[in-house]
Symmetry: C2
Subunit: 277 residues, 2 copies
């Protein structure tokens, strides 16, 4: 496994890799969710490139950029064990050099849910992902369903800007008790960790109601809200039952839906989601 | 020479062309300025692709989109004669499908000059150029110095977003009397056409003053303004003496400058520029 830092090193190392080339962009502090994307890429591609970059542009001024967990030696060991060919570790100065001023903005799709709660977040995500795509030049790029709105935003950007690649979405990886894997789970206290599976339970309760015939968006949102509120350590930021493509909230489900939520445990903000189809 | 319309046809035809690949994006109604870029591309590359697309997104609501001159048969003949390999003629529906919502915004560099007079213009330019780059996948892309701010914006975007290509700038092509070639020159009446070389004369006058030692931005701007005002059919929109990279107006020239201007003749708006170095 080769490790590079500069854009020139990346381009030269990438040119030597046989295609098709799979790419897994990450912010590091890897867990089994990331590795499941690497494994998917290994199955579908001849070469696999991973980037590790904690992107300042997607953190708001009051978010956890400086506290975001980092463990590069451990990450590199995991990627080596998973059979990755090339890891790119750009510096913030490489990615945002002096005079940087080009941003990618998506309209409606970035307004609700995470975009509503985290202004500027998806501008930062779209911009860095476009940069990573242009730098790496992958045939397929891999993202986790855990960040459902991110997936929708990136798919829309790839379509709108004619990026010559395919987006592959891997399923959310979970702990045995249902908690979705996330680098932020390490922030949880023991009691919060014990309470956190309530997100998944709420999603499953809404899915069961849907399976039993419930098609009302408001009813499913109320059901998830109430399920989470039974957990005293949890504080709901939003629950949503939205259109799969536009992410607009639905009155009535006619053609599938994205159930999603953001919930605080103390200062730690967790998200989760589930697709009804 | 092959002519294609859809993105799928383009990708398939492009894949068959040997590299390095040169790309000349145009809005059609070609003149010798465009052909000089094609010739430059022919010299430097194994294959040359040209796009013709009158991009609605870079025209303001009160601008000349519907009146913009078009003559595709003549354009194709000129490109065939110039030895182009592949011409892409996308439709507006191909470029901006339903639900399109992704835009590329540059900050400071789009604020003055053309960007100041044409709000949203460079958002449209940057977005369509990024789409064209992603669709065509060139090694080198060719732009004319005539659109000096466009060149600066696109170079900045290529750097900021890590596009894997080189921007090559061809010199402004001029009529014998100095008028810069432009598809919009056809709008000029006979009298306006006779008056229009005043832009170039004003630039040359400022260049002569600079050669004689003048380093004051205000003095050079006043000199150009006054030269143009001697022509009764001309109405100055702006004259500028700006930093080559940031496009900020200069008090004193220490490290070169971009002289530029926009001038109306009746309803026709002409631009021209010259670099002092």
């Amino acid at each position: 496994m080769k490790t590079v830092t500069t854009l020139a090193e990346l381009r030269s190392a990438r040119a030597a890799l046989p295609g098709p080339l799979g790419f897994v962009p990450t912010m590091g502090y890897l867990h089994a969710g990331h590795i499941s994307l690497v494994e998917l890429a290994k199955q579908q591609c001849k070469s696999v490139v991973v980037s590790i970059f904690v992107n300042p542009a997607q953190f708001g001024p009051n978010e956890d950029l400086s506290a975001y967990p980092r463990d590069i030696p451990r990450d590199l060991q995991m990627l080596q064990d998973a059979g990755v060919d090339l890891v790119w570790l750009p510096t913030p100065e490489t990615m945002y050099p002096p005079g940087f001023q080009t941003w990618i903005d998506l309209e409606e799709i970035t307004q609700p849910l995470e975009g509503g709660m985290r202004p500027g977040h998806f501008r930062g995500v779209a911009t860095v992902v476009a940069k990573l795509f242009n730098a790496v030049g992958p045939d397929k790029a891999y993202f986790g369903q855990k960040d459902a709105q991110q997936v929708a935003v990136i798919k829309r950007m790839v379509l709108d800007l004619n990026f010559p690649l395919e987006i592959i979405v891997g399923p959310t990886q979970r702990e045995a008790d249902g908690l979705a894997l996330s680098s932020r789970n390490k922030y949880l206290s023991e009691a919060e960790r014990a309470a956190a599976p309530v997100l998944h339970r709420a999603l499953l309760a809404a899915q069961a109601a849907y399976a039993a015939g419930e098609r009302g968006g408001a009813a499913l949102r109320a059901l998830m809200q109430s399920a989470i509120e039974h957990e005293p350590l949890a504080r709901v930021q939003y629950v949503s039952c939205a259109d799969l493509l536009t992410l607009h909230e639905l009155d009535t489900i006619t053609n599938g839906a994205l159930l999603s939520m953001a919930v605080y445990f103390g200062k730690t903000r967790l998200i989760d989601n589930l697709i009804l189809d």
